[in-house]
């Protein structure tokens, strides 16, 4: 932490800041500049927010954090990339490119089975499908809940694909965990810390979606909540951030892939469906994600998008998905990944 003093701050103010730094268990180190003084506070950065509060002291202009606040998620603690076993022989974070595909919502047995078989045939290795749907409107379809989970389990039995599905309410963690191979945390719950802590105590991989307004640092802090509870199987999912652009539903922050690769050892998944909101934009964003170095994709596929209960406009038809997968295989190969 660096404390920048105001130009013209006097000796007493400087002394007071140094005293407070010492009281908080840090060692002050003053750099006397030409126009103002700057004080480094040396020590273990736990209790950081308390140092930040020194901005309230007279003569202090600003307090600048130097260190990254996450630990377990960082490359500094674990330099080599983490690989996570997802079940069904699928591993993410190594040489395998994982493609998770399926409908936004589970709607019926026929729908989920048809989709599961289709995406498996095209090369997907995980089945996605929502049973608990967090919807902006209370009047929108909210998901089939446990019945949806049962249908997902049926589709897993039929295809052998492990399943990923979202859990929304801490109360439902046990229920969803009985069915799911991978537990998904949606973008809206990125700072639902009660949920994150419960998932940190689970023995299941967690697919954590970045919030629409989460900085990369905050995203890693949310992952840290899960890791700190003991669950080290966290997959980070970039799914678009909120910007001023309206041509797409969100803006896919593709550069988050190399930034995260530098900062964390956790595997990185790209969700081009929620990022763009339009099926026609999905294939090129899949290719871009893989070229950028991601470890996997999660893609919405629906047998009849114009009748989908949710997210129809961004869902690929099975034939479109298969065509995309064929081209993706070539890009994956150049990126050094196997599909």
């Amino acid at each position: 932490m660096i404390i920048v003093m105001k130009k013209g701050a006097d000796k007493e103010q400087l002394a007071e800041v140094k005293k407070q730094i010492r009281e908080l268990g840090y060692k002050p180190h003053v750099i006397h500049g030409e126009t103002r003084n700057v004080i480094g506070a040396v020590g273990d950065e736990r209790g950081k927010s308390v140092l930040q509060a020194m901005e309230s002291l007279p003569g202090v202009e600003s307090v600048v954090p130097i260190l990254k606040p996450y630990k377990l998620a960082s490359r500094e603690v674990k330099p080599e990339p983490s690989t996570v076993d997802l079940g069904g022989g699928v591993t993410v974070g190594g040489g395998q490119l994982v493609v998770m595909a399926g409908p936004c919502s589970v709607e019926s047995e026929a729908q989920i089975l048809e989709t599961a078989h289709a995406v498996k045939a095209a090369g997907a290795t995980v089945l996605r499908g929502g049973a608990f749907k967090p919807r902006t409107s209370p009047y929108s379809f909210q998901g089939m809940e446990e019945d949806g989970l049962k249908l997902l389990a049926l589709a897993r039995e039929a295809t052998g694909l492990p399943i990923v599905t979202e859990v929304v309410n801490p109360r439902d963690v046990d229920l969803v965990a009985r069915y799911a191979d991978i537990m998904q945390v949606g973008a809206r719950n990125i700072q639902n810390f009660a949920l994150l802590k419960m998932l940190g105590q689970l023995d299941k991989p967690i697919l954590l979606k970045r919030g629409m307004a989460s900085t990369i640092q905050e995203f890693l802090m949310s992952a840290e909540y899960i890791l700190a509870e003991g669950n080290r199987r966290v997959l980070l999912c970039e799914r678009g951030i909120r910007t001023f652009e309206t041509a797409t539903r969100n803006t896919l922050d593709i550069s988050a892939v190399p930034v995260l690769k530098e900062q964390t050892h956790l595997p990185i998944i790209i969700d081009p469906s929620h990022a763009t909101g339009h099926a026609s934009l999905v294939p090129s964003m899949c290719y871009a994600g893989v070229a950028a170095g991601c470890d996997g994709l999660i893609v919405e596929v629906h047998p009849c998008p114009e009748k989908a209960a949710s997210d129809g406009p961004q869902s690929l038809r099975p034939a479109e998905f298969a065509a995309m997968m064929a081209k993706l295989r070539e890009f994956a190969k150049v990126a050094g990944k196997e599909l």
Copy 2:
């Protein structure tokens, strides 16, 4: 809902769109334009997301929603402003300007009592204080939990001020409701729909904070979740949105006040502390909020900000708060509010 056809879409495509509109229970109405056709779908807009899915049909360029998706929150359903009784003789939404003040976190009996007496003496009519703290970092102070609630109750007893405090986890709703007069939903939980639904079944006023990336429409949709469950006592709180500007913690969206006043009957509270992140900016934003027409303010006050466990830099000292209140009284009078 307006469906815009692509230039060059053929008759069969148009016929298919009309057919689908009818199947979904709407009446299609075609406007033949010079370069393309546009189809209005007339009917009750429930099931809106399904119409949106028609974007997937061949020949369709875009689907443009026309109606606002919220109902109970809207001025159309209830033209006159709602007033909400907060307890202790305090009513918000009418001629009274409500000022909620207190520390970010409850830290000790001495701290909360000192603050409560100070803010009451300066004219605050509600005491704020956090017992469950959703923090970005798992290593930061997470609040005193039930012990904090007990201290808040003690401060209420000592001062007569009703208390507002945040609930984070659906599991804790009953616990917090045993102590709080007003239940706060923080910005991070704006789309924690499980929490919103539980609060909708409660007989307590809810202070709902806008998410950092919530549009005003989404904000009202979150309020709609509470209203739709039967609880009509919702207070909307603008607390800054996330933008590219870094001089402030968030950007206070002051124009949300008149926008909300046009669209909804619910009372509007401004939180200048979280919006700006710096105590020196808080007083002028209080004045601006009142001049813009808000019904209340929620302000962080701490007896010793440089030692605060959370949000020190944005907390006013009691004397600063009292000075602000004196000037605020004058602005409130011009705005037609009593303080």
Copy 3:
């Protein structure tokens, strides 16, 4: 400037960074932290971008600027607020609240004269009107150009109000300066440095509008371009920034007022018309701006907004403007300004 070394950076890398700092004319000052080293570079910060380039050196994690890059605009150089004489007995930056009002575009003699008389009668002290219009579409009305300037001069003669009008092209600076009392730089030209430099050599007040995506620091750097050329009469105008919110045209960054008041001595004007884009939102934003401490307002007024050649939806009718001014007078008084 603070250079943060990577954890594990070796002695040679540290030595190289120190060597480079010295070569650039700064004095390195190392703070040995628990997990990594941090180096302060002490010296005159001119040539700052060169220090930033040290991020390219092996072992360097990041380079953190400490000092504000503007000088002449800063409170540190000039602590007391600047007052600027606008002509016609109008001074901004002191006790007087300046209200600039008029149509977006000058459209005809009748239109500008009617508006000028109306806004003067309501208490405006400067007349605004666009003759050169930078429009997003090449097919939109681009302004009356010199004919428009002549009509503005006519309106000045008729009312005594000094006039503010936009200059878009460096080529037109002399032409516009022959007519205008105050030269306006629009938001789109905030980093049109050629234009800023020319205006810096002029003996006229400049109304500089913040860009839609300018940080406050960049805004001040653009002012610095004008100041550095010798023209000290710069008025800063906050007119909304671009965010994800679509209910308003832009988001009025009201907290920019106190932030700027802390950082600069230059007067601050609020433009609620471009910020909101809707006439019904303008009055409350005028009140908020004044309560926040601004020195003036610039407001669009048109005798017949539904027929305006540009920006009709955000223009007040003369009667609406007069009603707003009556209430504004009361808020101004509380804010310690005379209107």
Copy 4:
């Protein structure tokens, strides 16, 4: 254009809106909805801003544009992709992937020649280099101006590479055009319409960079300014947009590539250097851009980034560039482009 009436708007208000629509030369077409009426205005959409002004009429809730405001840039006017001859046998927009590379600023003969030879050897086909530099600070290096242009011409002579360089001031268009093969418009000048109009009258390809806060639609409208003047050789360059994320200098909007490919026939270039601001992130963003379907890249390369006069942190060293190009060749092949 769709005019949405307020719920409860009366017959007279509806009649007035219809009358105004007819007066403006459009044909009104009313759809009577269940809760409100909606009016389509059929006709040539020129004069669009005037229709927008109808929002000011009593009883009107909102005015919703349906048609895209650009014409010449659109796929509807020209369905097949445009190819642009850049000189030196280089064509963009067809099967060739164009890589433009070189330093941010031209600094010396040795620097530009060394870089030009290096990037050519690695496979670049256009040399970039700035002679007029728009810098945020007036105290930063502003470019070598005409001397820089002369050095670029020298480098072209030495290597045969056509050169792209930025023009900032309309006054300098002729000067820059005497040296440059491709004229660059920087992000800060995206709405410098005086400059765009002059470039529209030039017989040279224009590389138009998207503004930091430009929507894709506004970006195309700026291109339309050039096209409407007669110059059809416009290259669109996505270089990152401004968002809340601070880990990167800007956020590369990679989905702009497929969106633009759907909407316009103009070639699309990606600038990963300005988008990310960090050299280590550039290669993966080059790969992502090509996988997403862009027609070219523009990349900053400097022989000694830590001593660069501008943008050092985002410049690749020649060896890093060569390594990137080797891998890029493989991705380009999969994307169906030749490098």
